[in-house]
């Protein structure tokens, strides 16, 4: 501890926010100097006893880490690392690094060590990501735009596009779509042949198709009619469909 201070405090690796960037930082942490923390650029609070080092994303390094996780700790662990990266938790990369240190020591058995703090911490970061994915698969709402393009807006807490875009690509085989992550200014797009995630900095949505409003009204009418009056329970409703999702749900926002 003391000699670190002499060097200028705990080392913090900063990566560019990408999955590959995070894996590169983990590579550096392994082969160069063990860090105090690993953080995505632009979302940390400077502490007095820390020094910072930017990590240049390097696909060969990240690829090696990726393959090593898969080969030595297994697919489940790799999944946990990936879901962890999608989380909005600022310390996610640090937790993932701690998880992997243990993982490389004990191998695939790590995912059974549910009571171990390093494993428990990553599970805790994973859970809200998967819960949000589960909700958003159902709550996302597409509108049909001019030219038959399906367009949906979302503002998710965790980064959901890498999960949702392939999911809807499988489901919407014949129709092009755009899922617009308004908060992150990104979009998951499909032209029916392939999907990818692109920047939506300068994106403007196409116009609505003429019949779109009719279908919204039909859906709202159906949604109203299925509620049994003598069982009304708005509390349970907002527990199951939390209000933060309502903004983009046709039947909850009045079809705006």
């Amino acid at each position: 501890m003391c000699d670190r201070r002499a060097l200028g405090g705990h080392l913090v690796y900063l990566y560019d926010g990408s999955f590959e960037g995070m894996l590169t930082a983990i590579f550096e942490a392994y082969y160069r100097e063990a860090p105090g923390r690993i953080l995505a650029e632009g979302c940390w609070q400077q502490a007095l006893d820390e020094r910072y080092e930017k990590v240049e994303t390097d696909l060969s390094k990240s690829g090696r880490v990726h393959d090593a996780i898969e080969a030595k700790i297994g697919k489940t662990a790799l999944g946990m690392v990936y879901y962890g990266w999608l989380s909005h938790e600022p310390e996610r990369a640090t937790r993932i690094y701690e998880f992997l240190r243990l993982g490389f020591r004990i191998g695939p058995g790590i995912t059974a060590r549910l009571a171990d703090p390093a494993v428990d911490a990553l599970f805790r970061i994973n859970r809200p990501v998967l819960r949000e994915y589960d909700k958003q698969r159902g709550f996302l709402r597409f509108s049909v735009m001019e030219g038959g393009i399906y367009y949906a807006k979302e503002e998710t807490v965790s980064y959901q596009l890498p999960l949702l875009t392939p999911y809807f690509f499988d489901r919407m085989t014949g129709d092009p779509f755009i899922i617009h992550d308004v908060g992150r200014r990104l979009a998951g797009v499909s032209d029916t042949r392939q999907w990818r995630i692109v920047s939506a900095e300068t994106f403007t949505a196409p116009d609505m198709s003429p019949e779109e409003m009719d279908y919204r009204r039909l859906w709202i009418a159906f949604h109203e009619t299925v509620a049994i009056q003598s069982r009304l329970n708005p509390k349970l409703q907002s527990q199951m469909a939390p209000k933060r999702y309502w903004k983009y749900m046709t039947e909850m926002n009045g079809g705006k």
Binding site: R113, R137, G138, T173, D175, L218, W219, V226, K235, M252
Partner: protein, 432 residues
């Protein structure tokens, strides 16, 4: 004449009438089928099901749940669509319904279609009409999403087999839990008319070939509180349905007064707490290895309104406790209040590498508030507790009481929705 009226009616009005008429069916799950997208078709299916919305009564909306028509030749007293009820009648055309399903599905409003119907002319003719809609949807419209259809009591083997090939799940609703109630309130139905199609569906599923027959299995529903049938009778019936017909699910629907027959209860609140307790007990039958006779008996035919059925059982069997979590079999852990399927599995995994203490258990998702009276870790209780039935009952009941107040006016406690959601999440993780 009827036809002209049908054609001129606004689609939104039809949807209101035929959706409203189907809302008393509790089954809205889209679970049990797993298939990926297919080129040239629309849709997929996810085995844990997906909730697309929640209505103002807090129930999940997953499927476009409608009747094909609310015309009905029968006069079941408990049913809103009974022939003697003076209500507006209408029907969807196959094109209208296929277009609605596709348009809703592609906008991600729904996971699929739940199609039921009043009986037009006779059961087979009605199923013929239903098949026409589904064949149009699966064929011309290329719909590859989830379909749940209700087989009509009294339907023939031929029609059931056609329906089964077009659907993910089939159900025949029992509705009334005893023959006596059936005779009284559904004079045109009888046990045979309901159980025969169930058997036919079961055979269809068993002999399933490449083309698939109801891959998500068969379910049914019972109405709770319309008749004097007890919880014990109902659970015994569910148990034998699971065993004999290999049903995936039995749904319970608290009776909402819609009829005026002297044998029916008059207007009042639907028995939601009772419905909730039955779902919990049903869960115990399916996933926890309990039998109906362990939970209730002739002398004690009703589930306790204060404690959930597992706590109730545990209190009557204190001689089997405490259970040592580091050694007890999975099946024994499952019987401990506060330990669910997920946490029992986690315990079995985690104790291979560590000797578990109470802090570990909390991390593994055990509800310690309930479990502490029934378990030891490394041979010791969490604290010095004086274990006797009265003490535990008071503590558990106090806990439930305080939670109930917080959850008011919701009689549906959170216990039941938990495993559903947990399973859903597990399903997501399982993909990788």
């Amino acid at each position: 004449m009827g036809r002209v009226m049908i054609m001129s009616m606004d689609l939104a009005d039809k949807l209101r009438i035929l959706g409203g008429a189907a809302r008393y069916d509790s089954a809205c799950t889209s679970s049990g089928s797993q298939r990926g997208g297919v080129k040239g078709m629309t849709g997929n299916a996810v085995s844990c099901g997906i909730c697309h919305s929640f209505s103002a009564d807090g129930r999940c909306v997953s499927l476009l749940k409608v009747l094909l028509t609310n015309h009905c030749i029968n006069d079941c007293k408990y049913c809103y669509n009974r022939s003697s009820n003076d209500i507006e009648r209408t029907a969807f055309t196959p094109e209208e319904l296929a277009d609605l399903t596709m348009s809703f599905y592609k906008r991600n409003y729904i996971e699929g279609l739940f199609l039921s119907s009043g009986i037009v002319r006779d059961p087979d003719y009605t199923m013929e009409l239903m098949c026409r809609v589904l064949a149009l949807l699966r064929g011309q419209y290329g719909f590859n999403g989830y379909i749940h259809a209700k087989a009509i009591p009294g339907g023939s083997a031929g029609m059931i087999s056609r329906l089964g090939r077009l659907t993910d799940r089939l159900s025949v609703n029992i509705e009334l839990p005893s023959e006596r109630s059936l005779v009284l309130l559904a004079p045109q139905k009888d046990k045979e008319k309901i159980l025969n199609p169930m058997g036919l569906i079961q055979r269809g599923i068993r002999d399933r070939d490449q083309r698939g027959f109801a891959p998500a299995g068969q379910s049914t529903q019972m109405i709770i509180g319309a008749t004097p049938d007890t919880d014990y009778q109902i659970l015994r019936l569910s148990e034998s349905l699971y065993r004999k017909f290999e049903l995936r699910r039995v749904f319970y629907s608290a009776y909402v007064p819609v009829g005026d027959h002297p044998a029916l209860p008059v207007a009042g609140k639907p028995p939601l707490l009772r419905e909730h307790r039955l779902y919990q007990a049903d869960w115990l039958l399916r996933f926890y290895g309990f039998s109906a006779d362990e939970l209730l008996d002739q002398r004690r035919p009703a589930l306790d309104p204060v404690l959930d059925p597992k706590c109730q059982w545990a209190l009557r069997h204190l001689e089997t406790f405490p259970v040592e979590v580091n050694r007890a079999d999975y099946s024994v852990l499952l019987r401990v209040p506060g330990i669910g399927v997920r946490s029992a599995k986690r315990i079995c995994v985690a104790r291979r590498t560590a000797s578990l203490d109470f802090e570990h258990l909390r991390k593994l998702g055990v509800v310690l508030k309930r479990a502490v009276y029934f378990i030891t870790c490394k041979g010791r209780y969490q604290t010095d507790l004086k274990i006797n039935e009265g003490f535990i009952y008071r503590n558990l009941a106090a806990d439930v009481g305080s939670r109930r107040q917080i959850a008011a006016p919701a009689e549906q406690l959170s216990f039941f929705s938990e495993p559903d959601r947990e399973d859903a999440i597990q399903c997501v993780t399982g993909e990788l």
